[in-house]
Symmetry: C2
């Protein structure tokens, strides 16, 4: 595992690099929406959904995976934006009264409370369109690459990916569930987009062998599941102020979680092991894996 | 204007051709969704939203525009599906309680009544992802063409297109509006996707000059606006049974319409003129415009 403070460049730290990328992401997210002569509520609601802060995990994964294969930063910028737009749209829709009915997101009122329900639905819809529009606009030496990346992102977002996972999640509420069902749910709901973020970062490079693309997908599924199990552990053991959302919201709806199924201790062991496996899988990428290793390390250490 | 019964091929009629295309569209829509090992409600709701019948105007426009430029049918099939998926997603979301709160669509319960609200939101979301995934999968001699088509469809669907138009529509309810505002609303809400359908049909051809692409956009905006004005006229003068939706739903919410602003007679004159202009604009395309001319003719004659 790379040590975040270990680098051949004087003054360089992985932590500093991640912080600079995070600032870059925030700037880009605040500037990425199209202008409209009749600038309406919809664009304001999209902007609200995009710029509320957050860990920016998925765009960071895009940059870190791109670094594995020397992808140019300008191309990664667009890919990172697209992935975060899909994530932001899903959060807006997941928070709706008909779905998770959440009031708080990242410590602020959710989009349908800050605006209204119709505007929140449309803001999510329009963010999804924008994600694909922006991704379609990248330039790549392989002219077929943008469409390939769009197909991958759309599959991760669609009925067998993120949206499908959310449907499984809603179906599970109040019902019985075993670990396999919960794992399948989260592989779709969270894992698919996290894996796609890594693979899209790789595809942003001029060249990527299929074997490397497969490895990125595998690492993505591991850390996606780790992230979710860790979320359940943090949700069961941390208070609202720190999380910026209601404590134990899933538990309050009798929704099965990894901690309710496995207990906190076993769930903790499980997610740490998955992160460790992801770090081991970085070996073939050599020194270029420093950024991704540092990011996984930071994920493992997070307290909210 | 082409006469639907006039063709050099014995037994061929434009009307018959359109009917065969419509049947082809229905078959493809009923088979286009991915299979899932845990086939869930979400896919059933997507299927429900796709297969409820309807005029299939947008996919027909894709085929008719493709015929102008000799685009291969197999490529048009996918393009037509993608456009109809975007349309179907928008109908599901527009019908939601937080939006137009409609109970009936094409004579059947709307998706959120046939399933539930959360599933309807997700079905719309997942149909949008699927539309871009399928479009990304087309093969074209120009490898950059699929991404170009996706950019065009995403722009038509997004904040400055269909979703933006729906936001303007919601903002208009109960408020004052002039003809210019109503026109701008419908250019985005309906016109953008109809223009995109024609342009995508053209882009499915191996080659299309920019001038022809512009002409298709212009024709699309004309018939999109004509279609909407005609909708308002039919809505004001026809009963629920024929329309398959509540009579005068817009009027009941004090929503301005072209008939409320212009009167039925002037609105009728206006939409007929727009259709006639679209037909005139087909002249440069010669004999290959027979199918599109027949379709516009059928649109002009429709009674629901």
């Amino acid at each position: 595992m790379a040590n975040p403070t270990d680098s051949s460049t004087a003054g360089y730290t992985v932590e500093g690099h991640l912080n600079r990328l995070q600032a870059r992401i925030e700037t880009q997210l605040s500037q990425c929406l199209p202008e409209s002569p009749s600038r309406h509520q919809l664009l304001a609601a999209m902007d609200y959904g995009l710029t509320g802060g957050g860990k920016r995990l998925r765009p960071l994964l895009v940059y870190a995976a791109g670094a594995l294969l020397d992808a140019p930063q300008s191309r990664l910028d667009t890919v990172a934006l697209s992935v975060e737009m899909i994530h932001a749209y899903s959060l807006i829709h997941d928070d709706l009264p008909a779905m998770d009915d959440d009031d708080l997101r990242r410590g602020r009122p959710t989009c349908h409370l800050a605006f209204d329900e119709a505007t929140a639905i449309l803001a999510g819809d329009a963010l999804q369109s924008e994600a694909f529009r922006q991704l379609a606009g990248i330039t790549h030496p392989d002219p077929a690459r943008p469409a390939r990346m769009i197909a991958l992102l759309a599959e991760a977002a669609g009925p067998l990916g993120m949206a499908g996972g959310q449907a499984l999640d809603l179906a599970l509420t109040g019902g019985p569930a075993d670990e396999a069902a919960l794992t399948r749910l989260h592989e779709q709901k969270t894992g698919a987009l996290i894996a796609a973020a890594l693979q899209l970062g790789g595809l942003a490079a001029d060249e990527i062998p299929d074997s490397r693309l497969d490895q990125l997908g595998h690492i993505g599924r591991d850390i996606g599941l780790a992230f979710q199990i860790q979320d359940d552990v943090l949700d069961a053991t941390t208070n609202t102020e720190v999380l910026g959302k209601r404590q134990g919201a899933d538990a309050a709806r009798a929704h099965p979680t990894f901690t309710s199924l496995l207990g906190t201790e076993e769930a903790t062991r499980r997610y740490r092991q998955l992160y460790a496996e992801a770090l081991s899988a970085l070996a073939p990428f050599g020194q270029r894996s420093e950024l991704l290793a540092g990011l996984i390390d930071a994920m493992m250490q997070r307290s909210h």
